[in-house]
Subunit: 174 residues, 2 copies
Amino acid sequence: MTESLLQRQLESPESAVQRFREYLASRPKPLRFTEAQRQMIHFIFSRHNHFDAEQLCAELDRANLNISRATVYRTLNKLVNAGLLRRVQLGNRVAYEHDYGYPQHEHLVCDQCGRVIEFEAPQLEAVYEGVCRQYGFQPSRHNLVVRGTCGDCLRAHSAKCRLDLILAVPTPAG
Amino acid sequence: MTESLLQRQLESPESAVQRFREYLASRPKPLRFTEAQRQMIHFIFSRHNHFDAEQLCAELDRANLNISRATVYRTLNKLVNAGLLRRVQLGNRVAYEHDYGYPQHEHLVCDQCGRVIEFEAPQLEAVYEGVCRQYGFQPSRHNLVVRGTCGDCLRAHSAKCRLDLILAVPTPAG
DNA sequence: ATTCTTGCAAAGCCTTTGCAACTGC
DNA sequence: GCAGTTGCAAAGGCTTTGCAAGAAT
């Protein structure tokens, strides 16, 4: 479902755990590290790239990790605050993706099949830098989503069109 | 709440109504044009720029236009399908904005006060054109949202910081 | 007359929250 | 043992939907 042009710095589940514990400890009121959190981080950082809360719950269930929906949501929020996950809006759906050790990137989203393609666009900041200066606006992050139809779906569609033509306009011999 | 750099082609409520009727009539099963729809279009195209469904309901109420929430949602969907409104994701909130007769544009969104600044970025397509070609992806539309802090909030914040300093470190004379 | 639209209330979906029991530190 | 975490179930937003009554063509 997800493809990437990016040179991925592989993030081990253990280093993600490590970083999460540092985040928890660094809070004004230190937070606690629990078994449920450890399991979620291991699961997320050894498998997924893009996923939503619903998917994650289902897959955790399938893996026989009994973590309640509430805890999944609470932990996802903490992981976002810790900078381990990034919350992105892909079309209508909210997805989470690895953030820690992963470069800023943008998304192509196929409206037909939901496929997500990531790409880097270093020139993008230049596109909005001018307006920001003009308005004294201090940008903190951006999100570019390009929607459309992926190559596979285009091919499938044109194949279907050819077929429709054949069925609709039988040859004189037919 | 909304500012714009754009040269707005003023769209009269009447021409929006006109175009909506054409859309309704052009459907395989023609749809009907109603008083509630006319009132909503007049309201939207004589006032708002960005708004969400909730705001619109409240303002319609205030204007003594008694249109139910369900009808507001149903009509908004039709207006989007008709190409009169565009649905945009601004941060966490879904907003609607005029589409018909309004150029493609991007958004700066202030995380503090919600202010929205629109700008045009003709160079933006070039940013993703290459990846699309590479993947055989056919782009249909894009959405760039830059979040951060607007000039006013920056000033308010630095003023507050100065104040905090004064309060926290009283002068020897204080 | 037919069929779409409306309003209402109910349900859906996703996410958060109150509370009592539990557990990390 | 204190304070944060969990699970549950309930409640919260926001949006859609089933249905009977009303309106547009």
